[in-house]
């Protein structure tokens, strides 16, 4: 039942990604200052925004889980955080490449957004050992939701603290709202953001579908009294 609408969603994602990538390479103007390397901006920034929003969404699903006590929401929360952590790895790698190309160093400590993102990423990386350490599945789901809510509150606070710790004001590529970005670039950026957001949604839906299918297979096997092949994951919640 999670597979419903998966095909049109996947097709839309592929189309949107193709459109945004062709816009990035053939339509968006070259940056006067940084030249071609600036184009990584259209990948790096949308990935970061989607990952952060995904973390917050994971927290919202966790609230839904604690309120309704429906295990479905724990699975949603887990998958949202899981995909966002994977996006987070991509953000750190593209960020490092961009930093090397434009500032000459792989890692720049006085770029507050990059540092905040690293701290948020480290926080969510502990989600897996945390889940793994709790055996009882019902308690694991509850504790994981508490973690997701706490970490969700931590995200904006952390960004504020790191931003304030900078003594100098760093020039920002992408300021408040739509400041400093010419119209064509803004259009391409919004297209990329939509494409990456669609990609995130598709991946979340795919993982939920896969989990639900393997859960169904397991239940059918149990009904047939056949042994399950191999051990299943201990940390990923099951979906009915």
């Amino acid at each position: 039942m999670y597979g419903k609408g998966l095909r049109p969603l996947s097709i839309a994602t592929v189309a949107m990604l193709a459109l945004s990538l062709s816009l990035v390479f053939f339509y968006a103007p070259l940056d006067a200052d940084q030249g071609f390397i600036q184009k990584i901006f259209y990948l790096h920034v949308p990935l970061a925004i989607v990952a952060l929003v995904g973390f917050i969404i994971g927290g919202v699903f966790a609230i839904a889980h604690l309120r309704t006590n429906n295990r479905k929401w724990d699975a949603y929360s887990y998958v949202a955080i899981h995909i966002s952590v994977i996006f987070g790895v991509a953000v750190l790698i593209t960020g490092a490449i961009w930093a090397k190309a434009s500032w000459g160093h792989w890692w720049v400590w006085d770029e507050p957004t990059l540092v905040s993102f690293l701290i948020v990423f480290l926080m969510y990386a502990t989600y897996y050992p945390f889940r793994y350490a709790i055996e009882d599945p019902e308690r694991q789901a509850r504790y994981a939701s508490v973690f997701a809510i706490t970490a969700g509150a931590f995200v904006p606070l952390n960004f504020m603290a790191v931003r304030m710790a900078q003594s100098l004001v760093h020039p920002r590529t992408f300021g408040t709202a739509n400041g400093g970005l010419p119209g064509e670039m803004m259009l391409v950026f919004l297209c990329s953001l939509a494409a990456i957001a669609l990609l995130w949604t598709t991946l979340v839906k795919f993982e939920l579908t896969a989990k639900s299918a393997s859960g169904q297979v397991k239940r059918l096997r149990r009904a047939l009294d056949a042994p399950a092949p191999g051990a299943s994951s201990r940390i990923a919640p099951e979906v009915s």
Binding site: L66, I119, L122, M123, T126, P129, F130, Y132, A133, I134, E135, D136, E138, R139, R142, Y143, S145, V146, F147, I149, T150, A151, A153, F154, L157, N158, M160, A161, V162, M164, A165
Partner: protein
């Protein structure tokens, strides 16, 4: 239903009395902190510290000493069946959070009462910065008590117990440590205390305390179910 105030006083009193009689956390935390100062003296090869170095040494040491206490915060509840007793008692469960966080706050203040003068004695040229430091210590301790109690109560019911507290707590308190060392740096600077952005950092600390105090209070109920 027992009034929350009575329950709070009973749990807090029980914790403090148990700690006073067994002394199982505080002396270890203080000893750990003092030894860490000695290690920093040789690791940094400095005999006196000021500014950001002083703030860094002080907060890194206090944080790791606090982790020792946070690890042991719920051990008695788990081993002696205190969790079951709390679940059976006709009290609001959030009271346990408030009482445990207050107990942890008392431990942290007691720890700092011993270790901060030792730190000043070892490394600081003048004690003028210690008075404004008190405000930073209290605000940072409130935040540590809230997050520490929350994480400790989850870690103690897991398989990895004392591994989980440092693992999950350290990234969670990064903003707290940024603000605490940001506020401490100017007041321990060489030419006497300065108050450069001191108030702003205190506000960040206060905001952190408020947010995680409320989060802890709101979600603690769910940690005691089953």
């Amino acid at each position: 239903m027992t009034p929350s105030r009575t329950a709070f006083a009973a749990i807090l009193g029980k914790d403090l009395r148990a700690e006073l009689r067994t002394l199982q956390s505080l002396p270890a935390m203080a000893l750990f902190a003092v030894t860490t100062f000695v290690i920093f003296r040789f690791a940094l090869d400095r005999t006196s510290l000021s500014g950001s170095l002083a703030a860094g040494v002080l907060w890194a040491t206090l944080l790791f000493a606090a982790v020792l206490g946070i690890n042991r915060l719920f051990v008695a509840e788990r081993e002696e069946g205190g969790f079951d007793a709390i679940r059976l008692a006709p009290i609001d469960r959030s009271v346990l959070f408030a009482a445990k966080a207050t107990a942890l706050l008392v431990y942290l203040l007691a720890l700092e009462l011993v270790t901060v003068p030792v730190f000043a004695f070892f490394f600081l040229d003048s004690a003028a910065g210690l008075l404004p430091l008190l405000a930073v210590l209290i605000l940072a301790d409130l935040g540590l008590a809230a997050t520490g109690t929350l994480i400790s109560s989850m870690a103690v019911n897991s398989r990895a117990r004392d591994l989980l507290v440092p693992l999950v707590l350290l990234p969670l308190v990064v903003p707290l440590m940024i603000a605490a060392s940001g506020a401490t740096e100017p007041i321990l600077s060489l030419g006497g205390p300065a108050y450069d952005r001191f108030g702003t950092w205190l506000m960040v600390l206060g905001l952190y305390d408020l947010i995680f105090g409320l989060v802890g209070w709101a979600v603690f109920d769910f940690l005691l179910e089953d």
